[in-house]
């Protein structure tokens, strides 16, 4: 366990360092302009400057709020709709094409509509974050809830389980590993959604900051914002990945349980 944990930290750190070195070498040898791709060192110093400015945390909080709220809405909606359609074939036939269409519509084209309905504030960004994060959760929930074995269902039927019990003790545990995989995608999508939302309208958040930096070609600053965004996203992602260990300890998808074969 001790070495395991060590490796789990050491390995990605090593990869990241290798990547940063490769990056630095690339920038220097290929002579890429710092206005397109700064070196990691430049970004680090810009990052230090960024996080020592207290204003930044307000922006970060806005983005996190948007992403997390959007994510939660997506998870609740995705799981419940996925569940409902897994149960009732008719619902899937009636509404799935519809859901797919909604996903396909470029959100940027509808930006004015979002702002019209939800204003320039957090709401419109939460909606976009939720819209982007919804589909992976929904799609995985649909297939996962369908994968409950009929024999297992029969056990619960015989035990006269009510729908809630059936959901919490059978459907959900069966579906969780796959739903969690969808949630991992969704948490990333909700960050992207929040940022896209901030690109589209409003005047707060790290996405807004990134655009403002880009306008003036403060490219290291822009990358510093991206690093911050990425760190936040990675933290949220890690939380979800942790959930996997807590919620589905029995499943082979829990890290460290798989066997090389």
């Amino acid at each position: 366990m001790g070495t395991d944990r060590f490796i789990r930290i050491a390995l990605p750190t090593a990869t990241v360092f290798a990547f940063l070195i490769a990056w630095t070498v690339y920038v220097h040898t290929a002579e890429v302009s710092a206005f397109i791709l700064p070196t990691p060192m430049q970004i680090v110093s810009a990052f230090i400057g960024l996080v020592s400015d207290p204003d930044i945390w307000g922006h970060a909080l806005v983005t996190v709020t948007e992403a997390v709220s959007g994510f939660l809405i997506a998870v609740v909606l995705g799981i419940s709709l996925g569940m409902a359609m897994a149960r009732v074939q008719m619902l899937e036939w009636a509404f799935k094409p519809f859901i797919v269409c909604l996903q396909l519509i470029p959100k940027i084209a509808l930006a004015p509509l979002f702002i019209l309905w939800f204003g320039f504030g957090l709401e419109s960004k939460i909606v976009i974050a939720a819209a982007l994060a919804f589909f992976p959760v929904f799609s995985n929930a649909l297939v996962a809830f369908r994968s409950v074995e009929p024999g297992d269902r029969d056990v619960f039927t015989m035990l006269q389980a009510n729908p809630v019990q059936r959901f919490t003790m059978l459907d959900l545990p069966t579906a969780l590993p796959v739903v969690l995989a969808g949630m991992e995608v969704a948490v990333v999508m909700s960050m992207i959604g929040a940022i896209v939302g901030e690109f589209i309208g409003g005047n707060e958040g790290l996405g807004y900051l990134a655009v403002a930096m880009l306008q003036e070609l403060q490219v290291p600053g822009l990358f510093a914002v991206i690093v911050l965004l990425t760190l936040i996203g990675l933290t949220l992602y890690t939380l979800i990945a942790q959930l996997r260990g807590w919620l589905t300890p029995w499943h082979a998808s829990v890290a460290g349980k798989s066997r090389d074969s």
């Binding site: 029969d154 056990v155 015989m158 006269q160 589905t248 499943h251």
Partner: protein, 264 residues
């Protein structure tokens, strides 16, 4: 509580065909049988003759193609829909163990109580007692995946018994057990069923077991699927393992074997 004169379980002209046309498989044909409260019957028959299917139809898990199942005066299949009222007193143990990997062994055993809202302390106590009864002491906290095949089967049996059901459907509960364990559990089952007047249907491949436990043995045949014979087991209760060595019991085994072979 049911002091009416009618049967506890009535199987009326049940038939079941899987698939259609060329691929149709006739799993059960025209099965009719009445059981009184506390009756213990066994289903004996070749593999694939429709024992599991019949049990599933009685439990309301499979819709019969024809016929009717009545449990305690209620039809299990009312207008093509399963009546969960009718099947409430029924507990079923499946042919596969069907333990849930997200529960420990004790939690799996206690699941039926949990679903009925029994308090945690009480259900844990009863699950532990039952685990001990079926010989799983010390494995209460284990994950089902750490059990051997026979141990899983026993856990599944414990789960079927924990609610103290009034009707018990057992699909080859002792198939993966050694003779010793099987004898012990046979005795256990017999005492449970006798004590609480449980109406029981047991699917087994062991002629000895069928003869030893049952009031009546139903012999099934496949191709065409049907009930070939219903044989009374005229042995007094309570029965002990000694019965199995008695000549009249041995004769009965021969009789049953003949019936099975004839029906094949």
């Amino acid at each position: 509580m049911n002091i009416e004169n009618t049967a506890d379980i009535r199987i009326v002209g049940i038939g079941k065909t899987f698939g259609q046309g060329e691929n149709a498989v006739r799993a059960i044909g025209d099965a009719t049988l009445d059981m009184q409260r506390g009756d213990f019957i066994s289903l004996l028959g070749p593999s694939g003759c429709g024992k599991t299917t019949l049990l599933r139809i009685i439990a309301g898990l499979e819709q019969p193609s024809e016929g009717e199942i009545i449990v305690r005066n209620r039809s299990v299949w009312e207008g093509g829909k399963r009546s969960s009222e009718a099947t409430r007193p029924v507990s079923m143990m499946f042919q596969e163990a069907r333990l849930f990997p997200w529960f420990s062994v004790a939690e799996n055993v206690a699941l039926p109580l949990r679903l009925r809202g029994v308090k945690k302390a009480e259900r844990e106590e009863r699950a532990h007692t039952l685990c001990e009864t079926v010989g799983l002491k010390g494995f209460e906290k284990a994950r089902p995946s750490a059990l051997s095949g026979g141990m899983r089967q026993r856990a599944s049996l414990a789960r079927a018994l924990i609610t103290e059901p009034q009707v018990l459907l057992l699909d080859e509960p002792f198939g993966a057990l050694d003779a010793m364990t099987r004898d012990t559990l046979n005795m256990e089952l017999m005492s449970v069923c006798a004590k609480a007047q449980v109406t029981t249907i047991l699917v087994t491949h062991s002629i000895t077991e069928a003869a030893f436990l049952s009031d009546r043995v139903v012999v099934l045949a496949s191709r065409p699927a049907r009930i070939t014979e219903v044989i009374e087991m005229p042995f007094e209760r309570p029965r002990t393992l000694d019965l199995q060595r008695k000549p009249e019991f041995q004769d009965m085994l021969v009789r049953l074997r003949a019936s099975l072979t004839g029906g094949h």
